[in-house]
Every structure is written in C-alpha cells, then in structure tokens.
C-alpha cells in the first residue's frame, strides 16, 4: 500500500485529505507542523508528501529545502493559498515536484498525485 504524508496545520483540511486518500487506497500519516513533518518524513518513509506552505514555526518551503538538503528524494506536492508566480517558482526551485493552489478539487489533486508518482516510478526504473 502506498503511503502519503500530509503536513497540514488546518484540522478540517487534514481530515478531508486523510479521508479522501484513505478511500483511494493510500495509507495516511498526518503532521500538524513543519517539525512533525520533518520527523515523520524520515520515520514513516512515505511515497509522497503533501506539504502545506504556511505552517507554524517552520514553513513548508523550509521543510522542503531541509528534506532535499538531507538527500531525501521523496516526491513533494506543495499545497498553498499563495498563488503568485514567485511563490510557485520558489517552491519548485526548492525541490517540490508540483504545486497546487487552494482551493483545489480533490480529483485534480489525485490526478496530480498519480502523475507525480508515475513520473517518479518511471525515473527510478529506467528501461521499463
């Protein structure tokens, strides 16, 4: 079973995403701030991380930067309400694989998740 780590400080959003992903057959780990996210990213070894940008204490951008700095290549999709181009560019430059702006449709998010996972799987097994 594929595992997704959701790093989101908003309880309602966490529940909605957790239920949605569980229904789609994912195993879900939840973190409510950046520090917990960093810890679980190492402990749970998820297949994908959904990372909110505006988190208390450590922002999502810093979490992403730290993970990439530590050599963690897990696919990351940033979730944010900040839709300005500079924010998207910065997120992607820091190592995110995709960027979804709130409010988003769950099916669109799932499609992006599948696409990112597909990309990662194909890059990990060249020639198949």
């Amino acid at each position: 079973m594929r595992k997704v780590l959701i790093v989101e400080d908003d309880p309602a959003m966490s529940v909605a995403l957790r239920d949605g992903f569980e229904y789609e057959g994912f195993s879900v780990a939840l973190a409510q701030d950046g520090e917990a996210g960093l810890r679980l990213a190492t402990a749970e070894l998820p297949d994908l991380i959904l990372l909110d940008v505006m988190l208390p204490r450590i922002t999502g951008l810093d979490v992403c930067k730290k993970l990439r700095g530590d050599g963690n290549r897990v696919p990351i999709i940033m979730l944010t309400a900040r839709g300005q181009e500079i924010d998207k560019v910065l997120g992607l430059k820091l190592g995110a694989d995709d960027y979804v702006t709130k409010p988003f449709g769950f099916m669109e998010l799932m499609a992006r998740v599948e696409a990112v996972l597909r990309r990662c799987t194909s890059s990990e097994t060249p020639g198949t």
Binding site: M13, D19, A81, R82, G83, Q84, T101, K102, F106, M107
Partner: protein, 403 residues
Amino acid sequence: MKLGRPLHRQTLWIGLVAVLVPLLILLGLQYRWLVKLDSTSALAQQATLSNYLEAVTSEVQYFYSGVAERGLNLPASVFTQNRLDKAAHYFKKKGVAGAKRLFVVNFVEGKDGYPFFFEPSCASLALPPWSPEVRATYVAAAPWRILAQKGGVVEPVTFKIDERDPEYRILLYPITDESSKVVGLAGMILDEAFFEEVVLPAAVAKSLPKLSPGSRGHLDPIVSAWDAKGRLAFMSDWSAKRKGAHPEIQKHLPFVFSDWTIGIASRHATAAQVARKNFLLNIGLSVALALALLGGIVLALRTASREMKLSEMKSDFVSNVSHELRTPLASIRVFGELLRLGRVESPEKAREYGEYIETESRRLGRREHLLHPSAHRSAGGRGRRRARRSFRRPERGLRCAKC
C-alpha cells in the same frame, strides 16, 4: 518571497552613497577653491590699498611740480639783465602756494650766489642778514653755483628738492638762458604746516575716486601720516585713532617730505580679515546648503524605505488574507466533492463532514472583515482596530483568526 527586501535596502544605501560621494567631492573642491580665493583676495586687497597709497603720493608730487612750474619758472632776463624787481613782481602776481619763503639766487657773472629773499609785505627782493635759513638756502644752491661757474649746461630743466635740513625743506628751480646755462635759481622753502593741513588732505581726498567703486565700500581706508619725529601729523579720520587702527601698509613719501611716513588701513577690518570673513561665509553657506540637501535626501530615502516596507507589508497582508480565506474554502470544496462522489460510507461521517463545512463557513464569515476593514467602522472601533492590527502585524492577525 523575502528576496526583494535586502535588494531594496541595498538600493537605498547605494542611492545614499551615490548622492553623498559627489556631494563630499564637491564640498572638498569648493573648500580648495575658497582657500585659494582667500589668499588671492587678501593679496588683491593689499594691492588695492597699496595702489591707493601710490595715488596719494603721486598727488603730492603733482601738487609741488605744479607749484614749481607755475610759480618759480622765471624768465632768464631777470638774472641776465639784473631785474630782480621783475622777479618780485612775478612772485607777488603768482602768489605761490605752500611756500614759507620765496627766494632767488643770481649766478650771473660778478654775483656770489647769495640768496635774495622775497618780502611779501613790500613785494620786493632783498639780501637778508645771515641766519640758519639763509645758510640752508646757500648750501642748497651750492651745486648750482658751481655748475654756473663752470658754465655747465642743464638739460632738461627740472626742479630739485633739498631736505638736508628738515627745518628748511627747499625746492629749487634752475633758470637757464637760451644756451641752457644756469643763470640763476628760483626757490621756495616749503611750509610744513601747509603740507600737513592742505596738501596732504587734498591729495587723500583726490585719490579716493581712484579706488575701484566695488572695493571702496568695504575697504573704506584710513590714511595716516607721521612726521620725521614720529608724531602723528595727519589722519583722514581722527575718530579712528581711538579704535587703534593699525596701518596695513606703510611707506616713506618718495618725493618731498621724504622722512615722513604715510600709512593706510581698512576702516572695518584688515584685508586678511575681510578675506577670512568672506571665506568663512562662503564655506558656511556651502556646508549649510550641503546639509540641507543631505537632509532632504535622507528624508526622501526614509520615505521611500517606509513606502517599500508598507508595500511589503501590504503584499504580506494580501497573501495572509488570501491564505485565511482560501484554506476554509478548500476544505469545504473537498468535503463537498467527497460527498458528491459518494465516498461517505456512514451517516456519522456525513454528519462530521457537515459539521466541518458549517464550521469552515462560519470561519469564512468571521474573516470577511479582512477584505473590507472600513465596513466595520460604523459598527464600532473594535473591528477597525482589529483590522488595523491585522494590517500592521499580519502574523498576529493570522494567529488570532486561526484561534
């Protein structure tokens, strides 16, 4: 997201330095020019005063030259035909100014060169009894007497001043015949009181217009003269004596009364003081101007910096407001979508989603004021204050809203 801020601050500093450096260079250059101007203007004013003094001494010389040419230029026939009465008549008619005594000396053959003094009361020339005055005249005429005895020629004819005895300053005018041989002398013993009271003041007054009109105003010189014994004999403004005005330039009179000293001083300040005052005034004005300019620039840069900060805060605020509104919206949308897709298996779950949707909707309603802070003014100051706080400190506003 925060990359622009250091860049903005750097731009402000670069702007400040870009203005400050040329301004300092300009001030430095101006200081150098003013220092140069300071020394040259002091010299120029010294030169002006010196020129004025020259003009005064020239006026004195001009006066006595005129007197000699007009009053002592007797016809040679007075001596060749021994018509001294004509000379007396001539002296009476001309009325020679500035003479304490007029006399003639006859060198025509047979005469011994003894002086004849003019008596104004009876308008005649007579041989005076031996006296220091006669001796001085006799001694002064001696070189001419020798020249006449030798039949020497005088060309061109010029008058001479003999000041060997300061008591009797003598002006001698040689009279020559048609072959330029000296036949006699016409002379005068100078009246020192006349020189002091009439000639010198007139020369000073006449020379004033020769000062350049621009410099006269602030120089307004005071001329003083000291006699051979060092007595202050003349001052163009005696009231300045109390102030102890010290002459900046002093010199001996070059032509007559050559043991007298004449000096000149600026009335208000010396040339160096005037130049220094000008220098300080100019540099003071420049520094004041530079400071005013710098103050203006600093104020402008400060305003620009504040505007930048405000703009950044606005941007942050909009971003945070966006987050505050979009997050509940996103939750509501996902819950709605899960319900629509039939992914809710139990009624408890549906109720839970309903509660979340309701809570998130209320949260959205509470945050509506973030979009229209002014709408809350009429409802009381609380909303406005909160909105202002949220605007100033977006992080705090955000935290409150999350609670």
